[in-house]
């Protein structure tokens, strides 16, 4: 426990797990990677599996999870984390394996890898942080960029005719045979963060219980590339993103016997 300055007559109402490395992050103010990292650290700690977990980091701002989570980690090429995670899990089926990816990495270059790992029912958990842009590289259009949203590669706003509609990954993944759990959550409010943690736990549970592939899409902000301050960016999630990317559980086989 990192309980700073706890007094004799107090209990700790909120502290962060030791699995979250005790250092300031480099992420932008209002970036939800910090929240997502913390939820992963909490879930792994509560499950008691942190020492048997292997993380696959992806390419984007997401790569730096390895600086903030004290878990054995391998860095995957852009989009390939689900394939690398497949190799890890097949090599060490006794370990908990998860990949942590952004929307450019997972839904663009990595679409084949995520869908096939999901379809095979690989016993792994995917944490998908969706902020509707390529963050690390300066805010280019991503497969999840909303129609009309301006980015550096669609400066007039995403146009449906030439760029298509944003992809709804939680629904797509839910449609694949090997998936045991697929949900979309948001990190924009306290209520949503509490629900996000529950969904994340479920996505790890289905792995641990050998039921199939676990997937959680977390709607997040990118204040810097959205050209907004953190509070405004956070509001955008509720006002613009949730209406298009509805929150919910799209597949959950935990009542049944699994997927294989």
């Amino acid at each position: 426990m990192q309980a700073h300055e706890l007094r004799e007559d107090e209990t700790v109402a909120f502290d962060v797990p030791e699995l979250l490395v005790d250092r300031a992050t480099h992420y932008c103010p209002g970036c939800h990677h910090g929240v997502a990292h913390r939820l992963v650290a909490e879930v792994l700690t509560e499950m008691g599996v942190a020492e048997d977990t292997i993380c696959v980091s992806s390419i984007g701002c997401s790569v730096f999870i390895y600086n903030y989570l004290a878990v054995d980690t391998v860095e995957a090429p852009h989009g390939r984390a689900p394939a690398v995670a497949t190799g890890v899990k097949r090599a060490r089926k006794d370990k908990i394996v998860f990949a942590y990816q952004g929307d450019g990495d997972l839904a663009s270059i990595g679409l084949a890898e995520i869908m096939h790992a999901a379809n095979r029912g690989e016993r792994m958990t995917i944490v998908f942080v969706n902020n509707t842009v390529y963050g690390m590289t300066g805010g280019q259009m991503a497969p999840t960029t909303l129609v009309g949203q301006k980015t550096t590669t669609c400066p007039s706003g995403r146009c449906r005719d030439t760029e298509g509609l944003p992809m709804k990954m939680a629904e797509i993944i839910a449609g694949l045979g090997g998936v045991a759990y697929s949900a979309r959550v948001s990190l924009d409010s306290v209520k949503h963060i509490r629900a996000a943690k529950k969904a994340l736990r479920k996505a790890f549970d289905v792995q641990q219980n050998d039921l199939g592939f676990g997937f959680v899409e977390m709607l997040s902000a990118c204040p810097t590339n959205w050209r907004m301050d953190a509070v405004k960016a956070n509001k955008r999630i509720a006002e613009e993103m949730i209406p298009y990317f509805p929150l919910g559980v799209y597949k959950d086989v935990t009542e049944a016997e699994g997927v294989c």
Binding site: A50, V71, E75, G87, A91
Partner: protein, 357 residues
């Protein structure tokens, strides 16, 4: 290293790769269909689960190579196989394995190229294999089998070198080597201990120790330079393993340099010419990287001349010329990819080279 030999089996080179990998302790195979190596994933799909390992037919060669990266990160012996266009897709993952220092083994049964090419043999992937088909300053250890027995034996060496140096290793065959059938004597190793291999760097969960990180990203000032120096030192250290087969070179006037199946076919041509009294020999590089330059330099120092024969438009000849540059040049005969080579095809080029002074 103890070994037990068993009865000979009559198998394809592709099958020998699979047999050798299993005997060498491979526990994960990731593959994808492409001619002329399909025997490998087909055989592994039943043989490796039977041996307690894992088989995945990946969604693409890109995915297969990345699965290999993941398994290698865990210190588990794993390999993938493909042919030229598929190996092109694997280049990014190979570069990442080199930069992250991961021991993956990749088998390439070279077919005709460029592009879709044909399904016959060629040696057009020499540059891709030896000069590094992926980005950045890395090299892969490259073995070039010429017989089905070498296909089997080289899988042991491939894994051993991969783990000794923490580096990806390539086994470069071709459609001839992959599809021909020969008797192979299988053998096993008794001294392999997967529990200890890679124990000081592999990922297995941070129990009782700090978390480990396997990566190729080095952003801090000077960090990437340090990693590159580390890698270069590794490749320098590999040089002691360079080797070649020498055949009738002692009194040869002309030395043919050829690798893989072409080395074997050249040997037949040389036997024919020797029977006619011509003084011709062969150096068949077995490791393409590190290149056996010393063998060639020693022969060049004795005044011998060279003819490089390849099944491509001229790739290894560059390395032969570099090796002997202090003494002489090398002639070149390239059998064109898309035409099957036979030993008679090499007679005239060798005689022409002999005739040139």
């Amino acid at each position: 290293m103890s070994s037990e030999k068993t009865e000979r089996i009559f198998i394809k080179g592709n099958e020998a790769i699979a047999h050798g990998a299993l005997a060498a302790g491979c526990r994960c195979y990731f593959g994808y269909p492409i001619t002329p190596q399909n025997d490998i994933p087909e055989m592994m799909s039943s043989a490796i689960p039977a041996a307690g390992g894992e088989f995945v037919q990946a969604e693409s060669e890109v995915a297969a190579a990345n699965m290999l990266l993941g398994a290698a990160a865990c210190g588990v012996r794993a390999f993938t196989s493909s042919s030229s266009p598929g190996v092109s897709l694997m280049q990014e993952a190979i570069s990442y394995m080199a930069g992250s220092e991961l021991p993956g083994v990749i088998v390439n049964m070279n077919r005709g190229g460029p592009g879709l090419g044909d399904i016959g043999p060629s040696q057009g992937d020499y540059f891709q294999s030896v000069k590094g088909g992926g980005h950045g300053d890395y090299r892969t250890y490259v073995l070039a089998p010429a017989t089905c027995q070498e296909c089997y034996d080289m899988m042991f060496e491939a894994f051993d070198v991969a783990y000794r140096f923490r580096t990806p290793v390539l086994v470069l065959g071709d459609a001839i080597v992959g599809q021909m059938k020969e008797p192979v004597t299988p053998w096993k190793r008794d001294d392999l201990d997967p529990a200890t291999e890679g124990a000081d760097w592999r990922l297995q969960g941070a129990k009782g120790r700090p978390a480990r990180l396997l990566k190729s990203l080095f952003l801090e000032d000077g960090a990437l330079a340090g990693q590159n120096r580390n890698l270069q030192a590794k490749y320098e250290a590999m040089k002691e393993l360079a080797r070649a087969e020498s055949f009738e070179t002692e009194d040869a006037d002309l030395v043919v340099v050829a690798f893989g199946s072409i080395g074997r076919i050249a040997k037949s041509a040389i036997r024919k010419l020797r029977a006619q009294g011509h003084k011709v020999g062969l150096v068949r590089p077995v490791t393409l990287f590190p290149f056996p330059e010393k063998v060639l330099q020693d022969l060049a120092a004795k005044g011998k001349r060279f003819l490089t024969i390849e099944h491509n438009c001229g790739q290894m000849v560059d390395d032969v010329r570099l090796a002997v540059r202090a003494y002489c040049d090398s002639d070149f005969y390239g059998h064109m990819p898309g035409e099957l080579p036979g030993s008679d095809d090499f007679l005239k080029p060798i005689l022409d080279a002999l005739g040139r002074k």
